[in-house]
């Protein structure tokens, strides 16, 4: 991955350490998709967290005098079957979905990085045991396991759900990290550290993880989107977030049957969901181009 940097001529007179950060940022800004994605994600976060203060309606309070009203100046997204304000519900659900997505991505990426790096670096039995575990967890679609366990977790709330999602989301990333580690381990700077007597965990922390960080950052970004999708899917079928909590998934589940007749019950939540994941994917794609020096195809 350093091939291109290597051919770049050194400029001894350049100011001290312009650093990668700036380079990545310039490239990122140059990618219009990524910028648009970032703006959308920011706006959605703003909507999710400031939205509840914009409307006088509470997401949970029913209002039997205003049932299934179409969007209007008063109820921006209309109301549902028991007169709850759909806008208030949607921003509330969005908030929950976003938080779940972020947490899951954070946890699962951490886990993946750690497991992958250890398996790759230590090799031998540790590697074999960890990879067996990965294969084992990959045999079942995670949905099956989560669905089985979720009734037990009814009382534990949505944080338990986050843990479950994270627990079944790290395996493929860990595999990639492992194979990257395998090649990093034979790289000379890691060997050099070993021969200097640097301790193994220190090597993982100081050399291996920073060098897979680009990949992990990209992966974590995309995972946010993936986790939100898993959340909505599971919640839709009643295995994730449960009432009285609302998330995009529960909203979609509630609105599905009435979608052909009362579209506002369904399409606002659906639209926000697609918009958010799309924006995340755009950022991920832009990051990939910006962080990966080989993606610059103009240099021979």
């Amino acid at each position: 991955m350093t091939a291109v940097l290597d051919t770049a001529p050194a400029e001894p007179k350049s100011p001290a350490a312009p650093g990668r950060g700036r380079l990545v940022l310039t490239r990122l800004l140059a990618a219009r998709g990524a910028t648009a994605g970032a703006v959308i994600v920011l706006l959605l976060f703003l909507l999710a967290f400031a939205g509840p203060y914009l409307t006088p309606w509470d997401y949970a309070t029913p209002n039997y005098t205003a049932i299934r009203q179409p969007p209007s100046a008063e109820h921006w997204f209309g109301t549902n079957g028991i007169g709850q304000d759909v806008f208030a519900q949607t921003v509330r659900g969005l908030q929950k979905s976003l938080v779940i997505g972020l947490l899951v991505a954070l946890l699962s990426t951490l886990l993946a990085g750690l497991v992958g790096a250890c398996a790759g670096y230590f090799g031998g039995w540790a590697d074999r045991a960890l990879m067996f575990l990965v294969d084992l967890l990959l045999i079942f679609p995670s949905f099956l396991i989560i669905a089985i366990v979720s009734p037990k977790l009814k009382g534990a709330g949505w944080l338990a759900f986050v843990l479950l999602l994270a627990l079944f989301n790290w395996m493929i990333t860990a595999r990639v990290v492992r194979s990257m580690t395998l090649s990093l381990r034979e790289r000379e700077f890691v060997r050099a550290a070993r021969y200097m007597g640097v301790a193994p965990f220190r090597i993982i922390l100081r050399h291996i993880l920073p060098n897979v960080s680009s990949f992990l950052i990209i992966d974590a970004t995309v995972t946010v989107g993936g986790a939100v999708m898993s959340e909505t899917a599971l919640s839709y079928f009643g295995f994730g977030v449960r009432p009285p909590d609302v998330s995009l998934g529960t909203l979609l589940a509630a609105g599905t049957d009435q979608a052909p007749v009362f579209p506002w019950l369904f399409y606002f939540a659906a639209g926000l969901l697609v918009l958010f994941v799309l924006a995340i994917n755009l950022i991920g794609d832009g990051l990939r181009d910006a962080l990966d020096p080989t993606s610059d195809r103009s240099t021979p």
């Binding site: 079942f140 099956l144 369904f266």
Partner: protein, 327 residues
């Protein structure tokens, strides 16, 4: 190559056994068939509940290893997956539903892969031109929708079409028209029509994933030395691309196939439910709500076997495509 595949197969067998045991233990621990019986009206006596649970081999007072032993013995010796919580045969239900699900999975995965590979390769060759941009946007949008949402959109579309025209243009409920008269041809056409939307719901996701991936492996290949060699010996760029580029760029797709199948399986479960197909996915959701341990384990077994079969297929495909792994 045979040796390689045989070794993979052996490994998968070990994985399968361990995985099924874990699934059994998990389902037994998480589900509460006792509460299911206790909730019956009139409420049966504790002894009666116990008796019934024992008869079904799902009594939580028997150690789980013992229960698993009985279950596994029945499975291995008689091919018997046990009884459902309604005391009917799991095997029968399984047999009824498996073809419904397999039909969807098979057609969906193959169609998605074929479309994705073709689209991705085309996209790479036309990099940054109109077809590439269009396909890129399409796949980004598709990748941003969970399968159930795609399925719902399709279904809502079909409903809208029905409402607009007054008749069912494309069927969106079930996998056949009940009591259809006519010959084999009519039945096949009917099947095909029913397959259309659910398969599309699955295949679109595949199209998006595969095409993105194929596009990037193809782009890597575009800069490769051997492509340059192929041109240097006198092939035109396009022929070199088709003959040397594409052939090498599809190799990584086999790994992708294995991973993507996992996602597909989940998607299929949702799709079945949405289009009211009586397949494994629907059964699974139903079984969980009824605390039906044996049915849940049976679906898990089905999932594990299909996922491993997909993995094995991917290995075989990889070995067939890439001479470097045939040792």
């Amino acid at each position: 190559m045979i040796g390689y595949l045989a070794r993979r197969l052996g490994y998968y067998a070990v994985l399968l056994v361990v995985a099924v045991f874990l699934a059994y233990a998990l389902a037994s621990a998480a589900l509460g068939p006792r509460t299911y019986f206790e909730a019956k009206q009139p409420r049966p006596s504790a002894a009666a509940v116990d008796r019934q649970l024992t008869a079904l081999n799902i009594n939580d007072r028997t150690p789980v290893t013992t229960r698993f032993g009985v279950w596994a013995e029945d499975l291995v010796l008689h091919g018997d997956l046990g009884r459902t919580i309604h005391d009917t045969s799991v095997n029968e239900e399984f047999g009824r539903r498996i073809w419904v699900s397999l039909r969807l999975l098979l057609v969906g995965s193959l169609l998605g892969m074929a479309l994705g590979v073709a689209g991705g390769a085309w996209s790479a060759v036309k990099q940054y031109r109109l077809p590439d941009r269009a396909l890129t946007i399409l796949s980004f949008v598709l990748l941003s929708m969970p399968v159930f949402l795609v399925a719902l959109f399709l279904k809502n579309g079909a409903i809208a079409a029905k409402d607009a025209t007054g008749r069912e243009v494309i069927p969106f409920v079930g996998y056949e028209t009940p009591g259809l008269a006519g010959g084999v041809g009519a039945h096949l056409a009917d099947w095909g029509l029913h397959l259309l939307l659910p398969t599309l719901a699955l295949a679109l996701g595949g199209l998006a994933t595969y095409s993105r991936y194929q596009r990037s492996t193809m782009l890597d290949v575009l800069g490769s030395d051997y492509l340059r060699t192929a041109e240097a010996k006198g092939l035109t760029r396009n022929r070199a691309l088709l003959k040397h580029g594409l052939r090498t760029a599809v190799i990584p797709m086999s790994t992708m196939f294995a991973y993507n199948f996992l996602a597909l399986f989940t998607g299929a479960a949702f799709t079945e439910t949405i289009f009211a197909w009586h397949g494994m996915g629907e059964w699974f959701i139903q079984a969980i709500n009824e605390q039906d341990v044996n049915a849940v384990v049976a679906v898990n077994l089905f999932a594990a076997v299909t996922v491993l079969a997909a993995g094995f297929l991917a290995d075989a495909l990889h070995a067939a495509l890439d001479p470097r792994v045939r040792y």
